[in-house]
Symmetry: C2
Subunit: 183 residues, 2 copies
DNA sequence: AACAGGTATTTCAGATTTGAATGATGCTAT
DNA sequence: ATAGCATCATTCAAATCTGAAATACCTGTT
């Protein structure tokens, strides 16, 4: 048997995997019972609300959400049925289509955000001291950067990974933006 | 709008969510292409291989995997079809049933483990220094402990969460066990 | 301008996941 | 013992997710 992880890393890995799963499950449950939204719905709404004209190309959205293209198509169809978004075809590129936030979608986000963010704090963030926040930020930012590259390079999950151009100006803004609707 | 997360925590939260998603996706893809196993299959096999007689009750398995009961039923059926496990009804409690690792299941795990663990290291663990490993372990162990309690107490996801008794002796062992097969 | 080769997205069938309902058994207090 | 409630697990239908194939359009070349 090839050498696996050392004991400390194995413990770390297992704690991370299991607790992350529990956390996501808990947040999903709490979000659903306090709103009509799933976590996926919520993430879509956040991204759209922060986007320039509250709209994003399907591919851009899929890339940021880490969704396969077909999953995103399904997700947006579902949200459209519920009036949270509408679709428009992209004028610059007629192959493309955009998801556009509706007033109802924005309202849904604004209503759901306080509870959801409170839940994120209650279940996770409030337990972290500043040093821990800094450590997690460093680790996961680095991880995300490496995996974004890797996905784009190696196995374009559904072809929606970030483009090869120098760098898309939206692609990794992690800072608040002013036009943010809820968060 | 109620106060959300402070800027540092929001950055942290988003980096964690996105990169965790990318990591899981990458590991799932790599595991599937190097074996016939999904990540869920792999986790089941690891737990069974470490269990006393290489068998676990459905509920115990669901609780540790953070699976709903019906999801676990489906998962185990699928693994049984492929010969990775068999099922036995539990002698002590005739309501219950056990999943038991087969020789083929153990073999599949032993074959898949080296590549999978190498991927875990390559994509994640090798980038962490000792202090980061320690910080993550502390944070996620604490998180897991709190969420295990919370789930058990508040909203027994499918009723398989740990019992309310003082503490189930299997429930949070995170240490290697000696009889471990692969990891 | 027609072609070749790429890209963006959807469609489709099949696999997985969910949650509510069901069946079967265990447990406790009569 | 047995009624009454709790627990373990499965089933079923509906919702979601995946990957391969199809569709429509772009772009650079000739």
């Amino acid at each position: 048997m090839v050498e696996g992880l050392d004991a400390a890393r194995m413990t770390c890995w297992r704690a991370y995997i299991e607790s992350s799963q529990r956390l996501l499950t808990a947040l999903e449950d709490e979000l659903r019972e306090g709103s009509e939204l799933s976590l996926a719905d919520y993430h879509v709404l956040v991204l759209l609300s922060e986007a320039p004209r509250q709209r994003l190309r399907m591919g851009e959205l899929a890339g940021r959400l880490v969704f396969s293209p077909s999953r995103l198509t399904y997700q947006i169809s579902s949200m459209r049925r519920r009036g949270l978004v509408v679709r428009e075809s992209c004028p610059q590129d007629r192959r493309g289509s955009e998801a556009v936030l509706t007033a109802a979608g924005l309202l849904a986000l604004r209503r759901a955000a306080p509870q959801h963010l409170a839940a994120v704090r209650a279940r996770f963030m409030d337990d972290l001291d500043e040093a821990e926040v800094a450590a997690l930020t460093r680790v996961f930012t680095r991880l995300g950067d490496r995996l974004r590259d890797h996905t784009a390079t190696t196995r374009p999950r559904g072809e929606h990974a970030a483009s090869r151009e120098p760098r898309d100006e939206h692609a990794d803004s992690r800072e608040p933006r002013g036009d943010r609707a809820a968060s």
